[in-house]
Symmetry: C2
Subunit: 191 residues, 2 copies
Amino acid sequence: MDENERQWTVGELAEATGVTVRTLHHYDEIALLTPTSRSAAGHRRYAAADVRRLHRIAALRGFGFTLAQIAGVLDSGETDVRALVDQQLAQAEDRLAKVRRLCASLRSVALALAVTNPSPEMFVQLIEGMTAMENAYSREELEAMTEHRRRMTEQLTPEEFAAMAERRRAMFEQLTPEQIEAMRRARNGAG
Amino acid sequence: MDENERQWTVGELAEATGVTVRTLHHYDEIALLTPTSRSAAGHRRYAAADVRRLHRIAALRGFGFTLAQIAGVLDSGETDVRALVDQQLAQAEDRLAKVRRLCASLRSVALALAVTNPSPEMFVQLIEGMTAMENAYSREELEAMTEHRRRMTEQLTPEEFAAMAERRRAMFEQLTPEQIEAMRRARNGAG
DNA sequence: TTGCTCCTCACGTCACGTGAGGTGGC
DNA sequence: TTGCTCCTCACGTCACGTGAGGTGGC
């Protein structure tokens, strides 16, 4: 609009907003944020309108939207924002549940490792044992999900099965009952 | 070991364990899980030992480890598992906090959208407003993090600044005080 | 002989990171 | 003239997904 309007170079804009220069190049490449003009030498010149658009992009990114979704919202007026948010929320809550379980599992493993520093083999057996425990403690999930594990177990020879059980027992024997209880609580509690 | 030992083809193993055939191909490519033998025609033949290794891989993946880390744990005996778990836990707790905030934000946006179905422009302004609110409600973070936003605001002309404030005001005017309060609680509550 | 499974390339995904090699403005 | 910033390729990331085109065993 105004010839005297303040302009930004990529570097200036990057520094001012905290994104990288490469990110601005990328947004230009995919036509999400194209600078209003270029200098004679081909350098990008961002105007105030571009800066505002970048702010919007950053805000929407903070809400977990993909760049394609953001482009849709910013450029086409026909986006069903309600469906978009609902879908995004469902995804986020799904991830939340997963990350919670992961944290609980890792915390209980860390707890076990705080008292012993096992060899990698023992560590792997601890993880396997916990994975088995997890399955044992959510029956419905186990039923519903698959019979994979059981089928796999059936396919093992009795000798293999016994060896597996023995390794697992040996692992848990190293822990005190209190530790095992703590692990269980960590797993089932505020997941 | 035993010539009569049960063997699996890729398809059988995939079906039995719930991973895809492509995943098994991938694990073979990166030498994470190489079938014990191949048939005359070059078909992969997995033995019981391979199946056990796949189980271990799956268990470790469930704990969020990368394939490279898993290879390290399974193949080299020198891995510092304690450091590995601590690092993984720190990462997971970080993600947990982020996903929690994201969920809270999305829930409050969904709440606002439950009463009105705004145009994409209004929606973007709502998001921007919430981002601003978020910053307003965690002073220390704002101080600590950067002055980016403030610098950006300073770079706007007074007219632009006023227009921004006006748009934001118009957006919030559409909401009842109760809705705004609920949004605040959603943001600050069980984050 | 017909299916179904198996094989090996090889490009695509998502949002950039990271050089490589060269040019322009103060 | 020296730096610093800018430019455009173009490959790499991570864990596979998805065809493409062809072969092998029941």
